[in-house]
């Protein structure tokens, strides 16, 4: 059964204008969404924590503003959810892991703070794979999320809760994170819009790190316009993240309505090869035909190193993870295994109790590829291939304005279907890890359904810092 179709239709601009005109209040709207969570989330399990009082206090501030006739900020009264790898001061931040159970971070992530300053209402924190490691949300230590379109299927991962919450109408927009596809793939599986901003566009301060050279924060929403509005709020330089870019943030919605007429869109043959589900292929080809009919020039291109992207990704991401996750040692925060005689035993027992199987697997792999005697063969090699993958895209973008592909090789698969085979699970990210490694931007936009009614997403990839172009193509596709 589907719970995805009964969502109240509300846009960000519509909400702000309805509150400004007195047609509704932030409080009333917050209560509607809180009731939806109470009614729907038993089945979906998108939320790890909700705090109704906190949200209503935020809503009261917006309503005070509106009552005084003050101008309302950009996201005034918009009900949001935050993936549980991002910190909000005083709120639990589990990262989907037992090792952080009970942890209340003493600081707020920059992206989350920017949402709050823009008037967003935080309903709660969203379920995800443990430390954002997974493609199905089945690696959450707190139980999987169910796809609102078919409760026997996964929502995708790792930001499964963030995608499912929007799809089921339990939030108007959410934040997720994407290291190898963790925003785009669940957006595709749940039939919503998900944005991978350019690396450096959004500050990572307050994001519990998985792989620092790949991790990005981005929005989910029901429309490209709403997603673009949210990115405009959270983007920008931050003194707390040295990799955040000082480039000015454009108005991403300014040119979103411009036609795609005359735009050059690249279709890479490597993304339509073996392994692509026939229903996904025909949905994406139909979407490409619509863009062509709207005046875009479709060009066949090649990204020749694509088949090496998954192995490259799993060396680099796990190497960085093995280093980042060393900090979870039972000393400063989170879980500590009781009654250890020595410090070394305490470290090992804490990490054994606190980490799930996939996290351990990735730490072991990452430690292996960085260890003496293997570094050159694996880690250095993967960094070299990473450059070849990035250069593939730089060359392609000399010929085309954006690249269109399927987001994922299949629609949402069943819970349990791939959970015993790590390599099969990793292949769910085959079309998304390339952009992660290259640092370019992209968006997944709904593009038809399978015969069984499962959503299919088109991935639109753009040059570094050219989010405006991918939004323009995505918005056009949405309207066609």
């Amino acid at each position: 059964m589907s719970t995805a179709t009964t969502a109240p239709a509300a846009s960000i601009d519509g909400i702000r204008s309805a509150i400004a005109k007195g047609e509704t209040t932030a409080k009333a709207l917050t209560e509607i969404y809180q009731a939806r969570i109470a009614g729907e989330d038993d089945k979906i399990h998108a939320w790890l924590s909700v705090d109704n009082d906190y949200a209503l206090t935020q809503a009261a501030r917006i309503d005070d503003c509106a009552a005084k006739g003050d101008p309302l900020p950009k996201l005034a009264g918009v009900p949001f959810g935050i993936k549980d790898v991002l910190t909000l001061e005083g709120f639990a931040a589990t990262a989907g892991s037992k090792i952080l159970e009970g942890y209340r971070p003493p600081y707020t992530a920059t992206a989350v703070k920017k949402l709050a300053d823009a008037g967003a209402i935080f309903l709660g924190k969203l379920n995800c794979d443990e430390f954002a490691m997974g493609s199905s949300n089945e690696n959450s230590a707190y139980g999987p999320v169910h796809n609102p379109h078919d409760l026997d299927r996964v929502p995708g991962g790792s930001s499964g809760g963030s995608a499912a919450a929007v799809a089921a109408g339990m939030a108007v927009a959410t934040l997720g994170t994407d290291t190898g596809g963790s925003i785009r793939q669940p957006a595709s599986f749940c039939g919503v819009v998900g944005v991978l901003p350019t690396y450096g566009r959004v500050s990572r301060y307050g994001l519990i790190a998985f792989a620092s050279s790949l991790d990005r924060i981005g929005p989910f929403a029901a429309s490209v316009r709403d997603a673009a509005t949210v990115l405009g709020v959270i983007a920008g330089h931050d003194i707390m993240d040295a990799t955040s870019s000082p480039l000015p943030v454009p108005d991403y919605t300014a040119a979103i309505d411009r036609s795609v007429k005359g735009m050059k869109l690249g279709v890479p043959s490597e993304y339509f090869a073996e392994g692509l589900d026939p229903e996904v292929r025909s949905a994406i080809e139909a979407g490409i035909d619509k863009l062509r009919a709207a005046g875009a020039e479709i060009r066949n291109i090649s990204l020749p190193h694509t088949r090496y992207a998954i192995p490259t990704y799993y060396v680099i991401a796990t190497a960085e993870a093995s280093s980042n996750l060393a900090r979870f040692d039972g000393v400063r925060y989170g879980l500590r295994a009781p009654q250890s005689d020595t410090l070394a035993a305490m470290y090992r027992r804490t990490r054994d109790l606190g980490f799930g199987a996939e996290v351990k697997r990735r730490i072991l792999l990452g430690t292996y590829v960085l260890s003496h005697g293997y570094y050159d063969a694996y880690y250095r090699k993967a960094q070299q291939v990473r450059r070849l993958l990035a250069e593939d895209f730089l060359a392609a973008f000399r010929e085309v304005d954006a690249i269109v592909t399927p987001t994922a090789p299949t629609p949402a698969f069943k819970l349990g279907e791939k959970s015993d085979d790590p390599v099969a699970m990793y292949l769910a990210d085959i079309y998304t890890v390339t952009a992660s490694l290259a640092g370019i931007c992209g968006v997944s936009v709904p593009c038809g359904h399978s015969k069984a009614g499962l959503p299919i997403g088109m991935q639109i990839l753009g040059k570094h810092f050219d989010e405006a172009t991918v939004f323009r193509v995505g918005h056009a596709l949405e309207k066609l």
């Binding site: 040295a242 192995p311 040692d329 990490r351 072991l364 960094q383 570094h464």
Partner: protein, 111 residues
Amino acid sequence: MPDKERASLDDVRRVAELANLELTPDEEPRMRRDLNAILDYIAQLGELDTAQVQPMAQVSEVLATSGEGPSEKQSVLRDDEIRPCLDRAVVMASAPETDSIFFKVPKVIER
């Protein structure tokens, strides 16, 4: 299948020790199986000749050398100024065991 397993049980134990992970006796064979499956998959990178390719550690490197993007995308060093940081009491409140000044841990030196 390769002639020889890439990671032996001893390798798995050695890496687990390096990573401060304690694997139970039933976790060890599973991790060994999975690690070998993933390493076999990764081995295809060996098909590529990368002798002349510079490793890429982060995105800003490729932007800086490609001449494609704005030059200010390169990471910049911030001014070395004193700025406020989190209050000690707030940070210590998250610790599993503390005397409110230091983190307390089990004994470090075994004898």
